[in-house]
Structures are given as C-alpha cells and as structure tokens.
C-alpha cells in the first residue's frame, strides 16, 4: 500500500461512523496563482509558518493567528486540538514540523538571505470564510511588515 492516504475519504468515513451526519467540505478551487520569487533565494527573506500553536488549546477553544519574534520563541508548541497521527508518531522533535534551527543554518551558510524577524503560527480554522477574510489578511499584513519574500508553510 504505497499510495498516498486519502485523508478526505478517510476522515468523512471516520466521522460518519461517529454519527455526524453533515460531512465537512474541504476547500476546493479550480484556479490557482503562483507568484515568482523574483530574486535568488540567497538574497530573499524567508518566513516560517506552522499550524501548531504557542499556547495550549483544547478542541473547541478559539484559535488565533500569532506572530512571534524569533528571539522569543517558546521551547514547546501545542497541537492537542489538531488531527495528526498519534499512533504512528509524536511531536517531541519540533524540527519535524517547525524547521527553525535548520533555517537558521541555511541563513548562516548563505543558502537563504535571512530569516524573517518573526515566525507565524496559523492554527487550522475550520471556517473557510474566516480563514480567507480574517486569518489570511492578518498573515499577509505580518509578512509585509516583516518584508517576507517567501513563506515556508508546514501544516501538521
């Protein structure tokens, strides 16, 4: 079984088995845009984003986009409210979903221009309307403020 897991079908079946009658509708788009980087990576400001949180959250707690200066990053992140494979793996190594140290190394060796001053924590928000109208515009504002040329996005 080397095909990718079909998470949409798997998730629908799983929640149907729990008695939920209205299946979640994942975002679906026919169109897509690709902005060119426009300069070498070695001259670019690169930002880092993950879906993990910097504060503990439970399933129904409000979820907030957060930007944190890199010199104030916590040692631990939180993802108890997110769907990830708790049976197959763990989140003890933050580098497995938030490659901050490696990006610092790539900045040091000149592979990237520099890291953005802040990192971004973008919890999965199940309302697509809120994601587009609120969260995305906030992230865009943060990226402009931080002069980000390219954003590396790592969803759990």
């Amino acid at each position: 079984m080397d095909r990718p897991v079909e998470y949409i079908e798997r998730t629908r079946n799983y929640y149907a088995a729990q008695g939920f009658t209205t299946p979640y509708r994942w975002a679906s788009n026919d169109d897509s845009v690709c902005a060119p980087l426009g300069k070498p990576l070695s001259e670019s400001v690169v930002g880092l984003a993950t879906t993990a949180a910097t504060y503990p959250r439970k399933m129904f707690d409000p979820r907030h986009v957060v930007a944190i200066p890199n010199n104030e990053l916590p040692n631990k992140f939180f993802a108890d409210d997110l769907e990830w494979d708790r049976a197959a793996t763990h989140l003890d190594d933050t580098g497995s979903y938030f490659p901050f140290e490696l990006l610092c190394k790539l900045a040091d060796d000149g592979s990237i221009g520099r890291l953005a001053q802040r990192s971004y924590f973008l919890p999965t928000e199940y309302s697509q309307r809120k994601t587009i109208e609120s969260d995305a515009n906030l992230v865009l504002r943060y990226c402009v403020e931080d002069q980000v040329d390219a954003l590396l996005m790592v969803p759990l």
């Binding site: 897509s32 690709c34 984003a49 995305a136």
Partner: protein, 121 residues
C-alpha cells in the same frame, strides 16, 4: 493553511507548503507543494532525523526558485518506513470499534452543545 497560501500568492508573496495530506492540499489548489508521504504530524521528516529533515527543507526551498506554474507538486524521495502499516491504521474503522466510535461522537456532540449553551448570547 493552503487557503492562506493562496491569498499570499495573490498578493505577490511566494509560498511553498511542505505537507503530508496530498489530497487536501491539492484539492485546495496551491502554488508549490512538496509532498512528504509521512504520518500526519512530522511533514519535515522523522523526529530527530536532521539529515532527512534538511534534505526535505532544501527541496522545498528549491521549489521557490524553480517553480513558476501553480499546482506544482514534488514528491520527497524519502520514505517513512518499509512497512507502510501506518497508512492502513490511520482512522481505521474496525467492526469491533463501531460502538466505541458512536459513543465518542455522542460525547463530542454533547461537549459542543454544552459549550454553546454556556456561551454568552
């Protein structure tokens, strides 16, 4: 996160997603996607395997410089393990678990209802 990447791209900021839910990301339609075929939770690679994580990172960053067409997916060459057992196990519905799943769903609906009824109007 995929939806947010689309808004950034529309505003001139290049993005790359490194992730493991291929169907979800591709359905949303993003610019650049490095698919790492691993259990959800460790899209950069196995915990503490810095070599695997760094090579995935470098591949993802390479997409930023080379990819100019939207909906481009690259596949990481690294496998999680030989068994692939995790692919079958995730959200697996076994007959003997059905009653437990129904109870879990009921508990969740009750929690949600309780939370709604205690929220200020």
């Amino acid at each position: 996160m995929s939806l947010i990447s689309r808004v950034l791209e529309q505003n001139g900021i290049a993005t790359v997603i490194i992730g493991s839910a291929k169907d979800v990301v591709e359905l949303c339609g993003v610019a650049r996607f490095l698919f790492t075929d691993y259990p959800l939770g460790n899209p950069m690679g196995k915990p503490y395997d810095r070599e695997m994580q760094e090579r995935n990172l470098r591949q993802g960053l390479a997409m930023l410089e080379t990819v100019v067409s939207p909906r481009t997916t690259w596949l990481s060459p690294f496998h999680w393990d030989a068994s692939r057992e995790w692919k079958q196990k995730y959200m697996e519905i076994r007959e003997e678990d059905r009653e437990l799943l129904r109870a879990k769903g009921e508990e969740r609906r009750n929690q949600r209802q309780s939370r709604r009824s205690t929220q200020p109007k």
